[in-house]
């Protein structure tokens, strides 16, 4: 018959200390399920992606703002300095309004893809790389 192996001193005098030791031992032992091995890698990649998205999006918005402001200033100066030329250009461009808007949207999307989507997609791939 297998001899029972006691985890604490089973005598009256020794039981208090043994229980304390056992409690310490169990409370200090890491018995919980660990996180997956690649948890740190995945977290770092996620944080990098988020950082890159935030940074590139704010840069993109600054670029778009500057371009729109330049176009607006150009149009305002053109309108007030030579109204005749303005109306002439207006007559030429008005029928092609759809084309102009289409070109602007396409250009904007290409610019957005280049400045935001592409950096975001390739970020966080290399281990140990810096995204600053």
């Amino acid at each position: 018959m297998k001899e029972p192996k006691y985890l604490w001193d089973n005598t009256e005098e020794g039981s208090g200390n043994s229980i304390n030791e056992l409690l310490d031992q169990v409370l200090k032992s890491d018995c919980l399920i660990p996180l997956s091995d690649d948890f740190a890698d995945r977290m770092a990649a996620k944080v990098v992606k988020r950082h890159v998205l935030k940074q590139s999006l704010s840069e993109f918005l600054v670029y778009v703002g500057v371009i729109l402001l330049a176009v607006l200033i150009f149009c305002a100066v053109f309108y007030f300095t030579s109204p005749e030329a303005w109306s002439r250009w207006e007559n030429v461009l008005q029928p092609k309004w759809n084309l102009i808007v289409g070109l602007a949207v396409t250009g904007g999307f290409v610019f957005f893809a280049d400045r935001v989507i592409l950096p975001w997609a390739i970020s966080g791939r290399e281990k140990g790389s810096s995204f600053s």
Binding site: P4, K5, Y6, L7, W8, N10, S15, I19, N20, L22, L23, D24, V26, L27, K28, S29, D30, C31, L32, I33, P34, L35, S36, F39, A40, D41, M43, A44, A45, K46, V47, V48, R50, H51, G124, E126, K127, G128, S129, S130, F131, S132
Partner: protein
């Protein structure tokens, strides 16, 4: 690398530093989340939430407290919020009250193997109220001081000491009960 240097590197956008920070503190966050929630299925997602909060709030870290304490505070509050969401406010507040006795009953006989007893003890720890579990984890597993536990949980130092004593007392009582039952079993057998 000190915590201050690490935070600086992360704020400068060093991916290697991000990975190092997560690797260094993932054990702490994992222990806290699992001990508070007692749900292995959602624990990893909550750990991710905790680290996302850590990174997004890192600019607010002034270095007054240790980084481990600051991260533990975020893990503690995130886990409690999740616990409230899972169980509902009513149940959670009832669970948070210290209970006088443990609800789980254990078979005292044939508790001879170390692993078996560890499992029983862990089940006992898990049956303790959430504050007891948290304090036990921080004190024993993470070796936080009373002052640090006070910073993490917001509980006064005296309460922390009292909870720690009472948690140990409850566990010890249960263990002694098992021991007595085992002795009686031997004499009868």
């Amino acid at each position: 690398m000190t915590d201050k240097e690490l935070v600086l590197q992360v704020r400068n956008g060093n991916q290697h530093a991000c990975r190092f920070l997560v690797a260094k503190y993932q054990g702490l966050v994992n222990h806290m989340v699992r001990r508070i929630l007692l749900r292995n299925d959602v624990a990893e997602d909550i750990c991710q939430d905790v680290f996302m909060k850590v990174f997004s709030r890192l600019s607010a870290f002034r270095g007054d407290a240790k980084l481990s304490t600051w991260i533990a505070t975020i893990a503690y509050h995130t886990s409690l919020t999740e616990l409230n969401r899972i169980k509902g406010r009513k149940e959670t507040s009832a669970e948070m009250l210290p209970s006088a006795s443990l609800p789980v009953s254990y078979e005292p006989v044939h508790v001879f193997e170390t692993e078996e007893l560890k499992k029983i003890l862990l089940a006992m720890i898990e049956s303790l109220p959430v504050h007891y579990r948290t304090i036990l984890t921080l004190f024993y597993l993470e070796e936080f001081s009373y002052r640090e536990i006070e910073q993490v949980t917001g509980l006064p130092e005296g309460t922390v000491k009292s909870y720690l004593y009472r948690a140990r007392f409850l566990l010890k009582g249960k263990l002694e009960k098992i021991q007595q039952n085992e002795r009686a079993e031997i004499f009868v057998g």
